[in-house]
């Protein structure tokens, strides 16, 4: 029973994989597009996110309480 279930899962997985694989392979107009998409995602996640967009609160404070206290301090600093 377990073997049958494993085999079925593999078949479904293969079918899904082949569906995407064949789809991308036969896409005649997409080559240039995919290059652009990969460059875009690389710039966004490997350059912008990594070097230019750290999460300010996560990088400067460890606990939720510290973050909350800091924001309160920022919100009340006019007086």
């Amino acid at each position: 029973m377990y073997e049958v279930q494993t085999k079925m899962r593999k078949t479904v997985f293969h079918k899904i994989f082949n569906f995407y694989y064949d789809g991308f392979k036969t896409m005649t107009w997409g080559k240039k597009l995919w290059i652009i998409i990969f460059i875009k995602l690389f710039i966004m996640f490997a350059i912008l996110k990594l070097f230019f967009f750290p999460n300010f609160l996560n990088s400067n404070f460890d606990s939720e309480k510290e973050k909350g206290d800091y924001v309160i301090e920022q919100l009340t600093k006019t007086e």
């Binding site: 064949d22 789809g23 995919w34 875009k40 912008l48 230019f52 206290d69 009340t76």
Partner: protein, 513 residues
């Protein structure tokens, strides 16, 4: 206000505006074209006419290019929330968290799964399964838009939440109030229908190009019938939702409403400016134009638009600044006073908490809650800081309305000429259709300018102005990323336009695979 770096605030604003506007170039076409494709494919499945399949595949190809280039550009906005707008992100966290989490789970999976079936499944799944996938892509894309627009609507009209002074966060107390607030409903319907109109213009314009070139005539006419009909119905809906949005705005954001009509002094029987040219500022200390060089007014229309009564009083900017006892409008100065009490009470509450003084805590918390409604006003001294850019709001609103009217008329003309079978002879109509494509993008961006510039200085209406929302980071890093984005997004846009033009030039002959 002197405690805040205004240069940093303005650069952060400019950066967010730039990324949001570039992101919005891709989104509306996805929202509308998905439905146009689904309608075309439905006709194919119903009639079995291969021409419709070819037509569907061609537009699907353009949809795919736009979807692929545009996808994930919105993620940059989320990066900016964490880096540049950390106070804001923390302040609104729970309100934004829930709708965006629902978006992630429901819409993203729905959209991304069925996009693959839509593109790769033509010969692998049944016609009906494929059609269902196409419709689900359309609904999925619109569902994605729903959640982010609900979050935006909450910023315009913060309901269904309670501020927790211990955590400095707003906590959701009623999800349905957030989801079904009139602001959220109007914003969603008006925004997505504007996307439908833009997509219809896109299809009509490109089809017109084929007719001008005398190429793929049957394909072009079939596309135009679907797009112009869809566009016309969407335009009616756009007008209705726009009207409802304006009426709601007059109640919850009267300053934005007054700014978009450049109404300084409130009045009964207020006319609507149909067309107007604002005068240049006369007084450099008061750089807000009060008069028009030229204007065409529709009598009583503004009163009617705002309150469904031609005699209703519409408050102007001066009424909102100075107050108007007769009309029950309290002045900005009173709100500033109340806001300062709220800020001071919050500070004292935290101090009492640190000193374990429970009685004082309770007293300060009560005072804070009594004045929280105007919390954000307390950061300012000068009432003029609450006036958004009147020229930008006024012109953006009027450009949007005038172009919207042009789109509606164009759809009607196209349908009449198609019915009379004389469209190809009216080459000037075809040229206008083609050149209306950029106008549709201008109108769409103008709509966001009205919505966002008109509500300045607020990030969260009445509670959080932009100056307290920004992170305390180096201005130079914001300037660097601004130009980095400007370069990256411009390159992406050029790439999209080039690929699109190349595919349009090939036409529907290769079946669109």
């Amino acid at each position: 206000m002197e405690n805040f770096d205004i240069g940093l605030v303005d650069w952060s604003r400019a950066q967010f505006a730039l990324t949001a506007m570039y992101h919005w170039i891709f989104v509306p076409l996805t929202l509308g074209l998905a439905f146009i494709i689904a309608i075309m494919e439905s006709i194919y499945v119903r009639t079995g006419d291969e021409q419709w399949k070819k037509t569907t595949k061609f537009w699907m190809k353009l949809f795919g290019i736009n979807f692929a280039i545009g996808v994930a550009t919105g993620i940059i906005l989320e990066f900016e929330f964490g880096t540049n707008w950390s106070n804001y992100s923390w302040f609104v966290g729970d309100i934004f968290g829930a709708p965006l989490a629902v978006e992630g789970i429901m819409a993203f999976f729905l959209e991304s799964t069925f996009v693959a079936v839509m593109f790769f499944g033509w010969d692998k799944v049944s016609k009906k399964t494929h059609l269902m996938s196409t419709w689900l892509v359309a609904f999925g894309a619109n569902l994605s838009a729903l959640w982010i627009l609900v979050a935006n609507a909450w910023m315009q009209n913060p309901v269904g939440m309670k501020f927790n002074p211990d955590t400095a966060r707003n906590e959701m107390v009623n999800f349905w109030e957030v989801l079904l607030s009139p602001t959220a409903i109007n914003k969603f319907l008006h925004t997505v229908t504007s996307g439908y109109v833009l997509a219809a213009i896109f299809v009509v314009g490109i089809s017109a190009w084929f007719l001008l070139k005398k190429r793929n005539v049957v394909f072009a006419k079939k596309s135009m019938v679907v797009a112009a009909t869809f566009g016309l119905l969407s335009t009616f809906f756009l007008v209705m939702t726009g009207d409802e949005s304006a009426r709601h705005m007059a109640k919850i954001q009267p300053m934005k409403f007054a700014a978009m009509e450049a109404l300084y002094d409130g009045r009964t029987n207020a006319p609507l400016i149909a067309i107007g040219i604002l005068e240049k500022p006369q007084d450099p200390n008061n750089p807000h134009p009060r008069e028009f060089y030229y204007k065409i007014e529709i009598p009583n229309a503004l009163s009617y638009m705002a309150f469904l009564s031609p005699r209703a009083f519409v408050p102007g900017i001066n009424d909102l600044i100075n107050g108007n006892k007769e009309q029950g409008i309290i002045s900005i100065y009173e709100k500033i006073k109340s806001g300062k009490i709220a800020i001071k009470a919050l500070k004292d509450y935290k101090e009492a908490q640190r000193n374990n003084d429970e009685a004082l805590q309770a007293e300060k918390l009560q005072l804070f809650e009594a004045h929280y409604k105007y919390f954000g006003y307390g950061y300012y001294k000068d009432a003029k800081d609450f006036i958004p850019s009147v020229p930008l709001s006024f012109y953006a609103f009027h450009i949007m309305v005038i172009l919207g009217s042009h789109f509606g008329i164009l759809f009607i003309v196209i349908l009449i000429l198609l019915y009379r079978k004389t469209l190809e002879k009216k080459r000037w109509v075809l040229w206008i259709s083609l050149w209306t494509i950029p106008l549709a993008y201008i109108a769409s961006e103008a709509g966001w300018i009205v919505a966002e510039v008109g509500r300045q200085p607020w990030v969260v209406q009445d509670l959080m102005p932009a100056l307290t929302a920004v992170s305390n980071i180096d201005k130079t890093s914001v300037q660097i990323t601004f130009w980095l984005f400007a370069f990256t997004f411009t390159a992406l846009l050029i790439a999209e336009i080039r690929i699109m033009l190349s595919q349009i030039n090939k036409g529907p002959k290769d079946g669109g695979q």
